[in-house]
């Protein structure tokens, strides 16, 4: 959507609207939208590869094809990087009417809008300076009063210094087309999800501190370079220094609540722990500093086939590799900077989802079998029953049911060259990507059905709901206009719709975790 159209359609704009849009653009919540973003990535690649091929004389061999691929990748990456830096220009006297974060006042001036262009295909968004010269309409009544527009909106107060100086110097171009950057918004969903996870594993105070570390890392990423933003696809965050963190924590945060009262009692009164000590203690907890095997680095496996390596010993924070180690009040040594491991948390979340769903759909037995198979790898039925402490018949049933749902798979190993089923090992194993695909499919189906159900409910009560939207009902109140029966029915209907909406949101959140969180 074009900025000028946006401003025209909004019911009320203030002097801080444009800076707000600029801020959103700079911090990657909004992105400039170009012609390229309206073409499917596959088509772009095919078209560019065709161009490369045409330039090439003769028949391309495999090495040439590889060079084509590289060239196409680079070209696409370059074009994307270029569009990222567009959409805004330096502030000049035309923008004096806009609210400014830092200092600066000036005489009022009328703002101008560039010509609107509506075409079937979307224009290129990068005609900043061309359009400035095409102004042919001054925005009527846009001139602000002579009083200086230093009014700062509430959101401006929480900006960092570098962001404020940046915002003072640039402003968004009217002709730019914008789109929402969903990834950037997803970061907030991710933070919420992580908070819930930490809260359930540890306690709310630990979760609160964990989120503060995550936010610090995110803020650092968005401050750093232009074009870099904290993304949900990040597997590991930037390093966060504990000293800086502990000094920036709000004083309302009571870190001692998260620990047991007796934990610090043995210390002498001179060494009463301060915020920094508490922070170090939490970091030691979250990064499993006391676990010797953690130091070998085998704790957090990367993506790929090591899903089977899952243990319950996950490090949620990874210590930085600085030389300055800090000793916590209880004696653990912890590095003075750490980074958040999103991949580890993501893996845990996905596994939790899978396990809960299997338990809900099939039963506790199946969930245990699943857990055993995940930990151990490929096992025969007898081994599964021994490890899961179940009878063989139960295990057999459970394995069959899971296999029928294609959550686990079978590997046949013949003992002889004749593939005799009586002399073959049948090993069950958990095909983790397939299991997650099953889960994701299930969530999509549930989502679609809940949405359908909600539509059906709305359709059933359509006349009543329309009646409730009438102006006289709205002004006078439902009880006065509708009969008692209708009021009751309306209440039933809205309750049901609310439940369905909540169910839909819950399913959506689960499928988001499954599809967006890094592995």
């Amino acid at each position: 959507m074009q900025v000028s159209d946006l401003l025209a359609q909004m019911p009320s704009t203030s002097t801080s609207t444009r800076p707000l849009i600029t801020h959103l653009l700079l911090s990657a919540y909004l992105m400039p939208s170009t012609l390229l973003s309206h073409i499917s990535p596959r088509d772009v690649r095919i078209a560019y590869t065709n161009e490369e091929r045409k330039k090439f004389k003769g028949i391309p061999g495999p090495k040439d094809l590889k060079t084509f691929e590289e060239a196409v990748k680079d070209r696409i990456a370059r074009e994307r990087a270029e569009t990222r830096g567009e959409g805004y220009r330096q502030r000049d006297e035309r923008d004096v009417g806009q609210a400014i974060c830092g200092g600066g006042s000036g005489t009022a001036n009328g703002k101008s809008k560039s010509t609107k262009k509506r075409k079937l295909a979307v224009d290129d968004g990068d005609e900043d300076d061309d359009n400035d010269s095409k102004r042919n309409r001054k925005k009527a009544g846009a001139s602000s009063n002579a009083s200086t527009p230093r009014a700062t909106a509430s959101w401006m107060k929480s900006l960092s210094e570098s962001q404020k100086t940046r915002l003072d110097s640039v402003i968004v171009t009217d002709a730019t087309y914008l789109r929402l950057n969903f990834d950037r918004f997803d970061v907030h969903i991710r933070d919420e999800v992580l908070y819930n996870l930490m809260s359930s594993i540890f306690n709310p105070t630990t979760a609160a501190l964990y989120i503060k570390i995550v936010e610090a890392a995110d803020a650092r990423r968005s401050d750093e370079a232009q074009g870099a933003w904290p993304s949900v696809a990040d597997r590991q965050s930037d390093l966060v220094s504990l000293t800086l963190l502990s000094s920036s924590l709000p004083s309302s945060m009571q870190l001692n609540k998260g620990f047991d009262k007796t934990m610090f009692m043995t210390l002498s009164t001179n060494n009463k722990p301060v915020t920094y000590d508490f922070v170090a203690e939490y970091v030691a907890l979250l990064s499993r500093a006391e676990d010797i095997t953690a130091r070998s680095g085998a704790m957090n496996p990367g993506a790929g086939g090591e899903a089977a390596l899952a243990t319950s010993a996950i490090r949620y924070l990874i210590p930085g590799t600085t030389n300055t180690d800090v000793t916590t009040p209880t004696g653990s040594r912890v590095s003075s900077s750490c980074s958040v491991d999103f991949a580890a948390a993501g893996r845990k979340l996905k596994w939790n989802l899978l396990k809960q769903t299997v338990e809900g759909v099939f039963g506790e037995t199946e969930a245990r079998v699943l857990g055993v198979l995940r930990r151990e790898g490929k096992l025969e039925e007898q081994h599964v029953s021994k490890l899961a402490l179940l009878s063989l018949s139960d295990t057999r049933e459970a394995c069959e049911r899971l296999f029928a749902a294609s959550i686990i798979a079978l590997q046949e190993i013949p003992k002889s060259s004749m593939r005799d089923p009586n002399r073959t090992f049948f090993l069950y194993y958990l095909d983790y990507p397939k299991a997650l695909a099953w889960l994701s499919d299930r969530f999509h189906r549930a989502h679609a059905r809940v949405a359908q159900r909600r539509d059906a409910e709305r359709e059933r009560y359509r006349t009543l709901l329309n009646k409730a939207q009438r102006t006289d009902v709205k002004t006078d109140g439902v009880d006065k206009v509708l009969s008692r029966v209708e009021v009751q029915r309306l209440k039933d209907c809205t309750d049901r719709l609310r439940l369905l909406t909540v169910a839909e949101a819950r399913v959506e959140r689960q499928s988001w975790v499954l599809s967006r969180m890094p592995m």
Partner: protein, 186 residues
């Protein structure tokens, strides 16, 4: 042995540095994760497509749902093919009320709306497959392809608006509201 999750070929950058991951994420801003995290982003199961249909029906209305069904099932189609498929489309949920094939102007209008909402990819190719960039150049066929990830994201818009309001106040919520206007084409 659980198969290794190979990075899907659609993403370009390797999984190594986060910068590359970001650039590749910028590449397909609403689709793939270059870490190869979930191949379900490129492959769309039947359930996913049904969900997309449902969301389009909710957000855009029955005509758009009809068109979206055809596009989701057929992939990339040209305008002529789209009309042809619409004419022979079997009755779906969406067509229960609207029995006839929508007129061409309505189809075009719906396509425009869907493009505007970044749900539909469109590309104009000439005879040998190169992209025609210039709007005014005549000729070539316009192909449309639907972007299922963009549809699934729409389910989260409520959360986004709530976040925006929390961070920046009412104004932003209204501006986000208007950047995804709801158009019902009946």
């Amino acid at each position: 042995m659980p198969p290794k999750r190979a990075a899907p070929s659609k993403a370009t950058a390797s999984a190594a540095p986060t910068n590359a991951a970001q650039i590749a994420e910028q590449e397909d801003p609403t689709s793939l994760n270059p870490d190869g995290m979930s191949s379900s982003r490129t492959t769309h199961s039947r359930e996913k497509l049904k969900l997309c249909e449902q969301i389009v029906l909710n957000h855009f209305g029955p005509v758009a749902a009809q068109i979206a069904t055809v596009l989701l099932q057929r992939g990339r189609v040209s305008l002529k093919d789209l009309e042809r498929f619409l004419g022979t489309a079997t009755a779906t949920r969406a067509t229960r009320d609207a029995d006839a094939v929508p007129p061409k102007s309505q189809i075009l209008h719906t396509l425009l709306i869907l493009v505007q909402h970044n749900v539909l990819f469109h590309i104009r190719l000439d005879a040998d497959g190169s992209i025609i960039d210039d709007i005014d150049e005549p000729g070539g066929t316009e192909h449309f392809e639907i972007n299922p990830e963009a549809i699934l994201v729409r389910a989260r818009f409520g959360t986004y608006m709530q976040q925006a309001e929390r961070l920046w106040g009412q104004e932003v919520r209204r501006s986000c509201d208007y950047s995804q206007p709801r158009h019902f084409v009946h």
